[in-house]
Amino acid sequence: MLILLIIGLLEPPSYVRAYDRPNDGGGAIVIEWESVSDTLLKGYEIFRRKVGEEEFRKVAYVARGRNSFVNSIGIKDGVKYEYAVRSVGIDGSYSDLSIPAPPVVSYPQWFKKNKINTLLAIAIYFFLLVYFTQAAKGRELFIRRIAGLDHLEEAVGRATEMGKPILYVPGLSGLSDIATIASINILSPVAKKAAEYDTPIIVPNRDPIVTMVAQEVVKEAYTEAGRPDAFKRENVFFLSDSQFAYAAGVDGIMVRERPATNLFIGMFYAESLILAETGNMTGAIQIAGTDAVAQLPFFITACDYTIMGEELYAASAYLSRDPKLVGSIKAQDWGKAILMGLAFIGSILSLLNIDVVLKMFATI
């Protein structure tokens, strides 16, 4: 008390300003102020009033150390508000209210300016993709060997020689996972080969939509192979939508139908090893393909070949050699080259205290 009397009362914060929160859907105002340096300071109270109102009402309290606040409760877009802040002492005393900030209006924005880098990246990548898919027409482009995909045909052949079916597991996710789409792209040529060789292909499914798509794709493959009558709808079926019931069912199929070839391609979760180990014990040749990083180690140890990560997305181009699809691989490689270059340049610049590249990759 004595000290207070000697040095006077708490100072109110100075330079209070308020502005509409940028890049949002409205309904929020940011208030900032210069902090007060006083050992007796406990925090700040923020006050608000509509322009034209007499009285300020308290809307929030923040502890010392912070000097900004986002007010998002009770804000109406298009209404003018004034804000003022006062200091609170540890003894419960208050300063006067600060000079109010100039009136502010909150409103929704039509574009997130902070996401301009994402939009730009999409535009560049889109351009690369379109350019290379067009440029690739009529040209033979090189793709490096992808062991897992090279052996697909051999795996189908082996099942044929042994007179046993092929098991194709299209992953446990739905079409919202792009990996599932990649799997469907591989299912199509595999089913076609199976049809040509007259080897049954069993496709158990976990997702209803994938079941339907898989049926259509396999049916189409049989038609393309000129054997539409050999297509058996009951071989492409919905097994269960529960992860481990599905795993139990696929295990059952593996030990009873004894497929000579197991293909696990798409999105997988913890059940990956249950499937792959059981298949391994039955002596089937196994090829797995997934972009689920956490499951790759298990597929690598339990399968003969594993299509890893991005290789899965190169598959449809690799197998079909369709110039349009191969062109997309070229675009992917350009994307990688650009990113690696930026990582190099960004590191050198950032070590020289220039963070321009680092800022390009900001995601806030």
Binding site: G25, I209, E277, P297, K324, A331, Q332
Partner: protein
């Protein structure tokens, strides 16, 4: 109409869903909410009819043809029946509903049948992870050895036994996870990301259309 129009729909929906990400305006937020929380879910509901039919046909087929072990397909139908009875039957007014609630209680069925089956299937991984490790042990390639050695170090570093063997082990494991492991994870993610985006763009452009099935 059959071929082109679906591609137009995919193009339009893809573009709209992408653009909404950049628009903070409430109209765009509402569009996103309606699509993701309502429409896409509602559409997917209808596919279950097909899926259940497919499940049914698969098992009926086995029963009809008296395929070896066809009795198991009967068991599958019994399972479906039990769950449906427990899930909906207790709504039946009067004694029947009460009987079902008492003897076919949904929670009991879940807790003592469904959940233990699930947990036990999941726990098979303990055995399979051991047999997989053994397999890696037998493989004599450089890659398999590297995988196994790292796996052993990391496994030991995370149990008290490891730390009692060598105090520094947990620190080494932490370093492996933070740096070389993280490096490869990042490398994979970047590649996968580019592949996924390219595939998504090809879907929107109609280059990738095998998911639509045949003609």
């Amino acid at each position: 109409m059959r071929r082109t129009f679906p591609l137009v729909i995919a193009f339009t929906m893809g573009l709209l869903m992408m653009i909404q990400y950049f628009i903070p305006h409430p109209i765009s937020q509402k569009f996103y909410k309606i699509m993701v929380q309502q429409w896409l879910i509602i559409i997917s509901i209808f596919f279950y009819v097909f899926a259940w039919r497919s499940f049914g046909l698969y098992h009926i087929n086995k029963i009809k043809r008296r395929k070896e072990g066809w009795w198991a397909s009967v068991v599958a139908f019994v399972g479906v029946f039990f769950m449906l009875l427990a899930g909906f039957g207790d709504r039946i007014p009067g004694g029947i509903g009460h009987f079902i609630y008492k003897y076919f209680n949904f929670d009991d069925l879940y807790n003592y049948m469904f959940a233990p089956l699930q947990a036990t299937m999941f726990s098979l991984l303990a055995f399979f992870i051991a047999s997989a490790a053994f397999r890696a042990f037998k493989a004599r390639t450089m890659e398999a050895t590297l995988l196994l050695v790292t796996a052993t170090i990391v496994m030991l570093g995370r149990v008290p036994l490891g730390a009692s063997m060598w105090k520094g082990l947990p620190k080494v494991v932490e370093w492996i996870l933070m740096y070389p492991n993280m490096a490869a994870q990042r490398g994979i993610m970047i590649g996968v990301g580019l592949g996924m985006i390219a595939t998504s763009m090809k879907i929107i452009l109609g280059i990738e259309r095998s998911y639509l099935g045949g003609e």
